[in-house]
Symmetry: C2
Subunit: 417 residues, 2 copies
């Protein structure tokens, strides 16, 4: 079946390459239209005002990697971002990261493991951690909102899953394509950066477009996400006039690795689960409503006078109307990562000592100011959310995400150029 799709993709590619050439694509121009036409199906643009992978509809596979700088020289970081941007642009157009040299005496320019595949809607998104702004000349340009996250109640953050000087987010239709992209960038970065942590994620691959994906709890997750087509989207996500000029059209990424105690969740009654989230499992409708997009009625009470959407339900505590209008753009993925010993649970819940799936939510969110958006929201959730009995935050990082690169430029140019 997908063979047909691929074939159709190939048939479309000639047209796509034509469009790219019309748009003056540096990539298509530099590699020749013939090569582009052969491999250019399912491409998303790399160049633009904003980086891709933020407002882009979620692809089903995530590969996220944080790197630490091994240099204190801005020139080396600049060279890295040039190389990374050019490589990302090629790969997002379905091209090898570098054309293979004819000689067998040198390493191939590309690992080749996704040779013959199309770009698969690959996006690559880059971000900078706080230490970037300790490099010579950049100290005064650190944006005020790029601060370490405070300690939140209940979290059990592991250093080996947290922090980092640079982040690369690759999203694609296919986990092989996302992994390949980050691997190639890691290779290009050897000597300048070293790998710190990685985080893979998946979404059910048939949830497309407007359908809200379900997380590992079986709940629709993201119903109230701001949509790029809505007028308030830019105010939620993109940095604007009051920010540093180099950061205009940028954003921030907050990453949290949120482990779920799945055995505990799976042994809870449906009523408990729904009261925890504040939504019906099947429809995703807020409790008391019947459709997913019904506006939650937080005042409604049942015949016993109790809130229909309980006081500590996740949807209530996280809702903008209880948080001074705060919104963030969530772009999270489910993850699983081997077997873990589930330790004692909080809140007097029964203890479980059986090994379980080390699994949960790779929470990725974008916003214009994490100090003003994520921090107060998470403070409130960490303190009160009924969901906390099932989840533990075990990884954390925050990055500033520069604007997109212009054609022929590179991500970070407004800061480093």
């Amino acid at each position: 079946m997908l063979t047909d799709v691929t074939r159709r993709g190939l048939l479309r590619a000639a047209g796509a390459a034509g469009v790219a050439a019309t748009a003056g694509s540096a990539v298509a121009a530099s590699v020749g239209v013939a090569e582009a036409a052969t491999r250019a199906g399912e491409n998303l643009p790399f160049y633009g005002a904003h980086q891709p992978g933020i407002a882009t509809p979620q692809q089903p596979a995530l590969f996220l990697a944080a790197f630490d700088l091994e240099t204190s020289k801005v020139a080396k970081l600049r060279a890295l971002m040039r190389n990374w941007s050019a490589a990302a642009a090629r790969m997002t157009q379905g091209l090898r990261v570098a054309p293979d040299l004819q000689s067998g005496e040198v390493p191939p320019g590309d690992s080749g493991d996704v040779d013959g595949l199309l770009a698969g809607r690959l996006t690559v998104t880059f971000g900078f951690g706080a230490r970037v702004f300790t490099l010579g000349g950049l100290a005064g340009r650190r944006p005020a909102a790029l601060q370490p996250l405070p300690r939140f109640a209940g979290e059990e953050i592991e250093a080996r899953r947290s922090g980092g000087d640079l982040v690369v987010q690759a999203c694609a239709e296919d986990p092989a394509i996302a992994f390949h992209a980050v691997r190639m960038l890691a290779t290009l970065g050897a000597g300048t950066v070293r790998l710190r942590w990685t985080q893979r994620g998946f979404l059910p691959s048939r949830y497309r477009g407007d359908q809200t994906p379900r997380n590992l709890m079986g709940m629709k997750d993201g119903t109230l996400n701001p949509r790029p087509s809505q007028p308030g989207f830019a105010q939620v996500v993109w940095t604007g006039g009051s920010d540093a000029a180099w950061l205009r059209d940028g954003t921030y990424m907050v990453f949290r690795r949120i482990r779920m105690n799945l055995p505990h969740w799976d042994s809870s009654s449906r009523s408990d689960q729904e009261a925890t989230i504040g939504r019906h499992r099947e429809s995703g409708a807020p409790l008391g409503g019947s459709r997913e997009n019904d506006i939650p009625n937080f005042r409604a009470r049942d015949r016993n006078g109790r809130f229909v959407i309980p006081a500590r339900a996740h949807v209530r505590l996280a809702h903008p109307s209880f948080n001074g209008g705060i919104e963030i753009l969530r772009r999270g993925y489910s993850y699983d990562d081997g077997v873990t010993e589930i330790g004692p649970l909080r809140d007097g819940a029964p203890h479980s000592h059986a090994p379980g799936f080390n699994a949960g939510l790779a929470f990725v969110a974008f916003m214009r100011d994490p100090q003003a958006q994520f921090v107060p929201l998470q403070r409130r959730l960490a303190a009160q959310d009924r969901l906390n009995q099932y989840i533990t935050h075990v990884g954390s990082a925050v990055f500033v995400v520069p604007p997109g690169a212009r054609q022929g430029g590179y991500v970070g140019e407004t800061l480093l150029g």
Copy 2:
């Protein structure tokens, strides 16, 4: 694009349900044709002479899990295999593992995270480790070929990634579907089994049918795999007349987690890589040949009198013609699993202390007798394979795989029934 595919799947489903009913499918019958018709697209049969997931063309996502028995009672194992088989049959037909009860006062029967998806070519395959045959009444029925694997040269096997009393292999189009299946089976097994290790894997999802997938080394992997349509396939894979009667139409699974030193591989020249494998990277052709399916000429020498396919090349050492005709059915997947410190390498290769991707090959192979097939083959490879400078076996397990279940029966019935 996939929306079209899904829609076509749904349109086909009515027909598929009709076929199932004609074939007397216990599943379709027990849940009602209407439910089956709604969700039954892209189904592979669960019942049959052989278990699915062996001769089945490889789906792109693997989730493999080993469990340890927490019981010494055959009756509990029998009940587990009954429940697991019924659950697997439902899920492979795109149905929830159990119909949801109306009451909110009990846990939902299914975690619901893949609700609304189709079966996605899910297969579930079960196997038994040696300890199953220590349960009362089964001691005399352990097949002779189910022996622990010997220690092989160079391996660094970790207990936490190895062994196990039972194995479940779920393969599907979508990692979410494969994970869901194993998670539901783990939940059903609580009290009888506990999770020991898990192994996820992926293949580039557009390699279908006869196209040989590439591994993380960029090499086509599986060119010489026996094909179900070939006459010798049964002799390679399925247990036959000389085996225990309960095992007829069964097989064995050998699992090896093979870590690849990707930075080392990626810094090797193309000539080195091709001489290591004995094939051309791009075409997959044996060295000296031009097409992937060319028969390797192991006698050919270059003008300096050296073998064109080097003496220690992987394809030569692994080829049936140098191993008394031994073949196995490989069904491996690429994996990545966070960050590892790459230690010193063998064979005088340069040391690398940079953290790298913890990644490699989740080797899964099926054969009628691991002692006669995998063991001699791997002894030879472990001792001589030029590939060993890039790989390390870090996980290992062997399981006997019972025949498929008849309609309404269960996997393992010929042993436990």
